[in-house]
Every structure is written in C-alpha cells, then in structure tokens.
Symmetry: C2
Subunit: 412 residues, 2 copies
C-alpha cells in the first residue's frame, strides 16, 4: 500500500471537504433520454448491474414493466425474450449517474429530476415519486393503473414542476432546504415531510410567475415523500464529489438489488464490492402482513446515508419512531454509534436532539472493518411480495462489502 494512515486520513478529509463544497441545485425535470442520454432500449434498475436472469421477484417484474411502459415489447413474455437476446439491456442506475428508489426502474421517456453541482456542473438524476398508489412500478407492479400514473407524471406533473423550476429567478439550491428540514423531523430518507413543504414554498416564491400548471405541481407536492427523489439526486451529487481521492477509504456509493448489496469507495473508483442483503433491526409493516411478505426489490435511496442522512441521522427523524425506533433513546443511540465509523461531523447537517451536533459524515471502510458489529444503519421502505409498499424500518448493511473494499485498498 503506497499510502500510510496519515496519507489516508488526509485523503479522507479531502474527500469530505469536497462533499461539503458541493452545491446541489435543481435545474430541471426532463426525460431520462434528454437529460442522461439514456438509450430507449436500456432499462435501468437499482444495484450493481447483474445479468437479466439474476433479477428475480418484484425487481424482475419491475424491469419487465419498464420495458412494457417504454413500448419495447407487446407483452411480458416478449420482453423477457428481448432481454435474453440482448435487444433490451438492463443496467445499474448509477452507471448513468442516476439513483433509483426501491426497484429504481428508469427508462428513456420517464421524467427525471436533474440536480447540478453549481460549483462543478456535475449532474445526478432521479425519477419522480409515483405517489401513494398501490400500483407502483418500483414496487414490482405494472398494471393499467401503474401506466396511467406514470403517464400523468410524464405529461402533467413533470412539465408543471419543470416550468416552475425554469421560472426561478435564483438558483434553486437544495442544501439549504435539506439542512433546515433536518431540524424539523426529517432525516431526508424515510422522512421528507418538512423538506417537501420547504421545497414547495421555495418553488412557488422563487418563480417569476405561477402558470396555470400550478395545480398539477401542487398535487404532487402534497405527498410527503415528494422530496425524497430530490434528496437522493442531491445526495448523489454530493457523494460524487468524494470520488477519486487516491487512497481514501470513504464510501462514495451504496446500493442493493434483489440479490446483493454493493458499495464503492473513493480510492477504488467504479468497482462495486458486494455482499449479502441488509438485515432489519426494527421495522413496522401494515396490519395483515407478516415477515414472509417482505421482499427486497432493490434500493439506492441509501445514497442519503452516504452523505450522513437517513439511518446515520436517525436521531433527527423522531417522527419515524413507530417504524424505526420503538424508543427515542434507541434512535439517538444509533446515530451516536455512527460517529464511530465516520471520519467527520457535518458543519451543515445538524441534529437538534443532540444539541445540534453535526451529523456523522463520511463512512470509512477502515473503521467499519475494525468493528464489524457496527455497520451503517439504513432507513428503508419495505416492499411486499404482492407489490406495493407495506412498511418501513431500519436495517444494517452487511460487513462483507466493506471488508472486500478494505482488502482492495490495502492491496493496491
């Protein structure tokens, strides 16, 4: 290993400083084709890319649904044949700078929020929240209702929000919204209620004029989850700022599919280090469902944890008590434990119940492997085998990917 502990500490600090310097701005809501150059025959989904055959259950259904929505096949069987022949390709979202929520299916015609780092021009993307419908593509359900909802997003909601974004007189900076929401009960992953409200007001107040489309925008912004997709894209922009610091052991990405959990680090580039799926520590599912109904269908919203939010800032999201906590002291203990595996405390993301202590920032694979009983907490939604969201909870990342990344860093 060419760099000793001091050099690594300096590289980690530089990576975190780069993250702090990032200034994510919402610059538009456009089709994935135009924003990301996504080819029409490529279907993106959550987690490190796998062969089509490795996607199972709800995530497989979502990927197939994406192909049908895009009009690439007349029915599911034909879509499967096209994936198998290579006429349609499946890829991990993050290869295109995108992050996927749950199954994370992203196709060329779908609108994505475009978040740009005002400092560097680097961009990241995320689809819009599908609403609280039971039929959601990203929970593995593709029906007429799913399609109508996606069309409503594409034809009404996205243009309305894009119009308001383009009508802004000043850059629509997301970090001020995020820092404030963190003091109002959001941890910006499973809880985005305050951020959505702050964004709504900022969006309306900052627009030169409010066109007739405002109703469609308001409708979507009534959903407390709306901001999650912006939080994810902003987190991706900030996480990307940490990439490429030689020898740095900080985590730059985390994601999972139906089959595996993966991470990337600053010092190891685009390589995914993978391991088994996370395990739940506390969760709550709706009445009528049991643990056997829970299914992992993928998820990249844990990019928020990469920048110190979500499970790392669980003590900021006290309204998640019922799903994730059982007791406030448990939620506080979780965030407190995260300081042991991170390299810094955020000077911007502050947690009220900890007397405004900064959020734990910069997950460090070296620290994680040195105490494998402490891996990152992840605040995640729970999909049901039958499709739709059935709950939410807090899970722990597996230690294996961090160990593999550390082995690779040490060997290099």
């Amino acid at each position: 290993m060419p760099n000793g502990p001091d050099a690594r500490a300096r590289a980690n600090r530089a990576a975190v400083d780069a993250l702090l310097a990032a200034d994510p701005v919402l610059t538009g809501v456009e089709s994935a084709a135009s924003a990301m150059g996504l080819p029409s025959t490529t279907i993106l989904t959550s987690g490190p890319t796998m062969p089509f055959a490795s996607y199972t259950g709800g995530q497989r259904a979502a990927v197939i649904g994406g192909a049908l929505y895009e009009g690439l096949a007349p029915d599911a069987d034909a879509a499967v044949a096209a994936f198998e022949s290579g006429a349609i390709q499946v890829r991990g979202c993050q290869e295109f700078g995108c992050v996927g929520s749950l199954a994370g299916v992203t196709t060329a015609s779908m609108p994505v929020a475009v978040v740009t780092d005002a400092r560097t021009g680097e961009r990241a993307y995320c689809t819009l929240y599908e609403g609280d419908s039971a039929d959601r593509l990203n929970y593995g359900t593709y029906t007429d209702a799913t399609r109508r909802n996606l069309e409503d997003l594409r034809l009404r909601v996205a243009p309305a929000i894009d119009g308001l974004v383009k009508a802004q007189t000043e850059a629509l900076r997301l970090k001020p919204i995020m820092t404030r929401a963190l003091t109002m009960g959001d941890e910006l992953h499973s809880r985005n209620a305050a951020a959505t409200l702050l964004f709504l007001r900022r969006l309306l107040v900052g627009a030169k004029e409010l066109g007739p489309d405002i109703d469609a925008a308001l409708e979507s912004l009534c959903d407390d989850y709306f901001f999650l997709r912006l939080s994810m894209a902003a987190s991706k922009v900030m996480a990307n700022a940490m990439r490429g610091f030689e020898g740095s052991s900080v985590v730059t990405a985390m994601a999972f599919s139906c089959a595996q959990f993966g991470i990337q680090t600053s010092g190891t580039g685009d390589t995914w280090f993978t391991g088994p799926l996370p395990t739940f520590e506390d969760y709550r599912i709706e009445d009528g469902f049991g643990p056997d109904d829970m299914e992992f269908m993928g998820g990249e919203s844990i990019i928020t944890e990469v920048i110190g939010l979500g499970g790392l800032s669980q003590a900021a999201g006290l309204p998640l008590l019922r799903s994730s906590g059982r007791d406030v002291s448990r939620m506080i203990a979780r965030t407190t434990a995260m300081y042991d595996i991170t390299v810094a405390e955020s000077p911007e993301f502050l947690i009220p119940v900890l007397n405004y202590r900064g959020a734990p920032l910069g997950l460090d694979v070296e620290k994680i492997v040195s105490r494998p009983d402490v891996t990152p907490y992840l605040d995640i939604g729970i999909a049901g085998r039958s499709g739709r969201q059935i709950g939410g909870g807090v899970a722990r990342a597996p230690v294996e990917p961090f160990q593999k990344a550390w082995d690779s860093l040490v060997a290099s």
Copy 2:
C-alpha cells in the same frame, strides 16, 4: 366551598374534555370592526384592562400609535389628551374575544384572523403578523414604515388570504395542522415554522381556484411566524371551551401588560387575578443589546400555554434550543415538570422526543399553589426599549395570580 376535591376533579376533567371537543376553523380575515364589532374609538391592547395612565414605555407608545393609525388624533399629544378625556378608550383585548401578540394593539380597521369553533360557533380573533420589519407597532414603534406596513397588511395581504380562505372547498381546520407541526419542531408559540408551511400548502390546495392575489398571500406566508396568530386565535377558541365549569380550578386565560400578569380560571369567570411580571429563566438577545434593553410591553400569546403548547411543550420545540434551552435535557425537563401542575395529557398534541407522550394539558391553580416553585413556563419574545424584537426566551409565570385565584375558588 360547595364542592369537594372529587367534584373539582370532575369539573376539571369536564373542562379539559370541552377543550378537546373544540374544533377551531379559520373562517376569514376581516376588519376588527366587522368581525368583532370593535368601535372605532376603542384601542385594544394586551393584558387585563388598566387605566390609560398605567400603560408605560413601549406599550403606551403602541396604544398611542394605534390611535394615530386609526386617525383618531393628529399627533401623539392630541391622542394622549383624547385618551385622558375618554374620547378614546383603551381596553384589554380579551374583553372582545381577541388575543394580542406582544403589545397586542388592535384597532377597528385592522384585519383580524377569525377562528370559529365548528362545534359551537364561538369565535376568537387575532391580528396578522407584522413581518420582521424593525418598525412594528406591537414592539412600541409607530413610524411611516410601521403605517405603510399595516396598510399593506390591510389592503393586500388580508384580502388575499381572506380570498383563499373563502375559496376553500372544505373547512380549514387548524387543529390537524397544529398537531402535525408539534411533531416537526414547533411548539406553536415561539416557533411556528412547520405550521406556517403546513398552513400554506393546505390553503393553496384547498382553494377552488388560486386568484392573482396569491403573490401577496405567499409573501406573508414566507414568514415563519405567520402561523403564530392563527395558533393564538385557535388556542383562544379552545381555551374558551373550558370556561364556566363550576368549581373547576383550571386556567382559562393568561395575559400580561407592561405592569401586571393576570390569569382567569374556569370556576371564577371573567375575573382577572393579577400579580407581578414573569421572570426569564433562559433567553437570548441579539449582539449589541444587554439585559437593560429588555422591556415588557405586554403579551397574550401565552394563551398557547393555556392549551398545553408553548412553554408547556417546550420539548417539542427543540429548534428553540439557542434561545430557550442551552441544552435539550433542560427543555425536556421543563415539559416534564409541567405534568405536575396540569390535570391531563393531550391525546392529540404529542411530543416526539418524549416518545409521543401527550402534552401537559389543563394548568391547575390548586396544583400550582401546592408547589409554588413550579409555575407555568412561558416561551416569549423579547422587546427592546428602543422598539423592535431583540430576542426570545423562556420565562416563568409569577405564583401570586394563581394563589389569588385559588383563594377565590376556595372562598366561593
């Protein structure tokens, strides 16, 4: 005393149940003359009514400013002469069902929020927030800037908000907003940031159509304090529901002027029991000001404490840490202490950091006099001698008014 402890406990419980049954709805923003029947020569101000000569300092200046704004005198000297002759009268706000913020000056032409109990039709009123201008009538400053600002409220902001309120398709219920805001860092007295955002969204989404006045409404709703006046009027409606239960020792009103602090109880009707001004326990004032710059100019926003919010729910308002807390544990301890002097826990107002325990509800003069070291905490703004707000903090009510009320209850 005709009623023993059991009867009093039942009366207190009945009073609290009546409060919980109240359903405050914002029904309009109209002039105090039309809404409250306020005569043009009557100037309302905070606290139990006193003779004009007893109002001093900023509160006196505010009362005189109110007369000038109303066009009742050409200058301050003429206004004073008119007050002294009785041509203009000064009265306590609550004699007209109104609650006053800080000096609380309310005149006939000023717009007031009208909050109506959907169950009984009973109403309460409060003026609109003057914004963060340094020149505010309620901080004892009456200048051209003050007057222009009040005119803007009357001519632009109030009609815009009234229009949106009148365009609602369903009753604009305030309690759902308040209960939710309490889980998002507001205690609904010194902190109303989440409630203002929730109100803004509810106002826009519930309106049949958004007219051209929306900009004026948005402007005012950008102020995090906007909702305070609605919180106050809603609290007054709920507090009034507790009035008139024979033998009940629960507090139905608290208010102070520049000279005295007063309370009313359910069992003693409209009689004010008075005592000295509150004393600060923790506070924060802006750089450049010292304790000598602080001045009591009156305040009736402590009606929120009467229904269990504000200082009683300080543990819900963690973002007030810097002004009121110094340490989260102190804020939690304050709310915890309030359970010792209240008769119930709210099933609606829940405090996240206490694992969603209900807010302490129903201040009981019997309990307060039995442990005079524990009087109600009050989250209040701090006025400067030079006019304008210079800070905020947490004060304690004096025990004397509670002792006098208890003596009266026992003697009756």
